[in-house]
Point group: C2
Chain length 334, copies 2
């Protein structure tokens, strides 16, 4: 049995960005699993923009992390002790393992994954919540039709890069907005996007005029802020905007910047709609199967940005908000 469990607890509710001070780092003895509980050795943790929202004491789609609790994180790990009839030692599981070396507790919402079928980090990206988010947000809310123009922000990020590839599979013209020449080149050369707009080095409205001459039919928004306003100014009639995230606004110390161009919705009879992936849980299995098929056929690529060491958690999480991550950000625990 392991002896030591390193944990990051939520120490205070951050104002602005979460930093090392936001958490308290503790080392505790590993707990024993009680009835119906399992003990999991955490292997990979998923770092997601949504984690910033979980730190706020605000009404949302999920309760906030309590002060003094282990910071919530999805992850994959290996069962090393089990008192639960559905899980055996040696099983690999996906669930809310928390930012720690070991999870002990009831496996609520957990499911098994098979490391012989795909590398474990993939179960946090294309084959995990990231992929499910991309799949259902794009197809159910955005509902793109072949030939339509789909624009994505955060296009080189975890969700955006997958959603854009799905839009290509569906026959759309796909334009990604990302920061920096490397990311833009990656979108076109590696992922097969039709075009990319580098928001760090060009005017986004000008880029949209150039790359979306017929306007934007579907906008998949991960960032909010000025980029959302830019796209609102270039909507096609009956456009659909998927509000999947707003990473530019999550660390705001003051009020969120609302989209000043929202009346473009009126003029264009367009729609802006929010999305929460858990609403689609009943259909995850079939979606994952379809995604796996696309990956096997070489139509869908998943890029993970893996950082090693649980101890780097606060700084690694910060990469999401500075735009430094490239693909799905994963923390390798050891």
């Amino acid at each position: 049995m392991p002896q030591l469990n390193r944990q990051f607890l939520l120490a205070k509710r951050p104002v602005g960005a979460a930093t090392r001070d936001t958490f308290s780092y503790v080392e505790k003895p590993v707990g024993e699993p009680g009835p119906n509980q399992i003990l999991v050795e955490n292997l990979y943790l998923s770092l997601d923009p949504a984690m910033r929202g979980w730190m706020n004491d605000a009404k949302s789609y999920i309760p906030p992390v309590g002060l003094g609790e282990v910071m919530r994180a999805l992850g994959v790990g290996k069962v090393i002790a089990s008192n639960h009839p559905d899980y055996a030692v040696g099983d690999h599981v996906n669930g809310a393992l928390g930012v720690q070396d070991y999870f002990v507790g009831e496996p609520r919402g957990f499911y098994k994954v098979d490391p012989s079928r795909a590398p474990l980090p993939l179960y946090l990206s294309a084959l995990g919540m990231t992929g499910m988010t991309a799949y259902f947000a794009l197809l159910d809310v955005g509902a793109p039709k072949a030939g339509e123009t789909v624009v994505l922000s955060g296009a080189a990020g975890a969700v955006g890069s997958i959603a854009g590839q799905i839009a290509k599979i569906k026959g759309c013209r796909v334009v990604g907005i990302a920061g920096g020449a490397d990311k833009c080149r990656f979108l076109i050369d590696e992922l097969g996007f039709d075009a990319a707009i580098d928001y760090k080095n060009e005017d986004v409205v000008a880029g949209l005029k150039r790359e979306c001459p017929k306007g934007v039919d579907v906008y998949f928004d991960n960032v909010g802020g000025d980029i959302l306003d830019a796209v609102l100014s270039r909507l096609a009639p009956r456009a659909r905007i998927v509000i999947c995230g707003a990473i530019s606004q999550y660390n705001n110390k003051e009020a969120v910047k609302g989209p000043a161009n929202y009346l473009s919705l009126l003029v264009n009879r367009a729609r802006m709609e929010g999305f929460v992936v858990m609403d689609h849980a009943a259909n995850f299995a079939s979606a994952a199967q379809e995604m796996g098929g696309w990956m096997a056929a070489g139509k869908l690529k998943s890029k993970e940005d893996i950082v090693e060491g649980l101890e780097t958690f606060p700084e690694t999480l910060g990469k999401l908000f500075s735009g430094e991550n490239f693909g799905k950000l994963v923390l390798k625990v050891k």
Copy 2:
């Protein structure tokens, strides 16, 4: 034949509110109808918030009014000369007659109305574009179900007062937001709303908490601005926001105030969608028939705020933006 045609021409594109200076008042000889044209004596003109948008040189759902052109307005009038096979002298028509005593031209988009079936101003309110806007924006975009809570801003205005009554007919709990005790009393006592929130004399968020304990399922927005943000903070899951107008923002000299609380759409998987009434033209006839039936049954009341005198046009139009109008604002030409 009449001799004199008083006209208000758009003289300049206003910055902020339209005032008398925005228009040039001219008196011209009445024109003769050419081939396929008709001459109409204008009787009542519809004054609408949308007119402010038509004065801007901006891409919209309809071209702007050109400088030096007669200001666009819908209205009802009487045909006094006709070279068009479908229209005879004595017919009453509804169409874009313009802010003038007489319309001469082809009756594009015109249709006949019957003054023996309803007073003429009603063809500009419940039985005209106002009623069609209320009907289709509420039922097609808002799609309220019986038992749901429907909130409307500008609730004592032309569109809001009708949309709220339709929501009552559909079995919803209906809460109107309006300015002043008189309007709020009118909503409850005369129109049968369940509750009213007086935004001039109480905190709108507090009012929404009190009157919408289960949250807001459908929000019919005519005003934008702070009231839109207040309602966003009180959405029920899967709420639908109909963006029908944003009168608080039309006279802005600076950027529109975007809804800072728009991420409530994400958390609540809610939708915000724009609406343009002309998209539903194919179904106007059946909607007007249903509306007429409700009026005959005493379930739907139409209130017109009729001001006399074409010469008062600029100041009368201003009543819409100061919140002074009470019901559908109509200008009686003479």
